[in-house]
């Protein structure tokens, strides 16, 4: 039997909160899907949720915003790593302007 309680997705869960919340929801659910829960420290953690809930979350605007924020943060993190991994290689603004013929 699928549970239909309302899920608050506008906040970001801590790992502990997420585990408690999703364990409660998913007890006795037959059809399950995997979903990434975004924690308040930006660390992803996985949990098993019902297909019904998964569909509900995907359609949820606030949830999508949280996912988008994580998507953006990942890009920022990658650019930090890229910068340090390339030995802090940079171009000055003046050099760049010259290159662009300005």
């Amino acid at each position: 039997m699928e549970r239909t309680e309302k899920i608050e997705t506008s906040g970001v869960f801590s790992i502990k909160e997420a585990r408690v919340k999703f364990t409660e929801i998913n007890r006795d659910v037959a059809k399950k899907g995997s979903i990434v829960i975004l924690t308040n420290r930006g660390t992803p953690s996985t949990a098993i949720v019902s297909m019904k809930l998964l569909r509900k979350l995907i359609g949820d605007k606030a949830f999508k915003e949280i996912l988008f924020k994580q998507f953006y943060l990942k890009q920022v993190e990658d650019s930090i790593n890229n910068f340090f991994d390339s030995n802090e290689e940079t171009i000055s603004l003046d050099e760049l302007k010259k290159k662009l013929g300005r």
Binding site: K32, Q75, E77, F83
Partner: protein
């Protein structure tokens, strides 16, 4: 006055944007020039600049190890019709722009990615009794 530099990745992004549109090149260059004279505290107050919140500690630790300011900043002072974001880090008198993105284009890319991946994922889940 700050020395403004761009990482290789940020330079590539700027060139990609400017190849398509010279007006955008002018805009991005003028905003980089603006960064040279920025007063970070008042820019934070006026929301011209924001702090990127929620980054993993690992990334912030890496900044600290290289003597950069512990925050990652985002320059947001762009017209609504051209919602760019310039992400930068700071060390003493130097600002390094590490990422330039067009917020709207990034969101569209994200939406496409999510709908494609999730649609195929859900189809697969429906076909298989999990």
């Amino acid at each position: 006055m700050y020395k403004v530099k761009l990482s290789k990745l940020a330079e590539k992004s700027l060139r990609d944007f400017s190849d398509k549109n010279k007006e955008i090149e002018d805009l991005l260059i003028s905003k980089l020039e603006d960064l040279q004279n920025i007063d970070i505290q008042s820019a934070l107050k006026s929301r011209k600049v924001g702090i990127v919140e929620g980054l993993p500690q690992k990334a912030l630790k890496r900044l600290k190890e290289r003597n950069f300011d512990e925050h990652v900043y985002e320059y947001r002072d762009f017209p609504k019709s051209k919602p760019f974001r310039m992400v930068f880090i700071m060390r003493e008198d130097t600002i390094v722009v590490i990422l330039i993105v067009h917020h709207q284009q990034m969101k569209e890319r994200f939406n496409n990615l999510v709908s494609k991946k999730l649609t195929s994922y859900l189809d697969l889940m429906d076909r298989n009794s999990f």
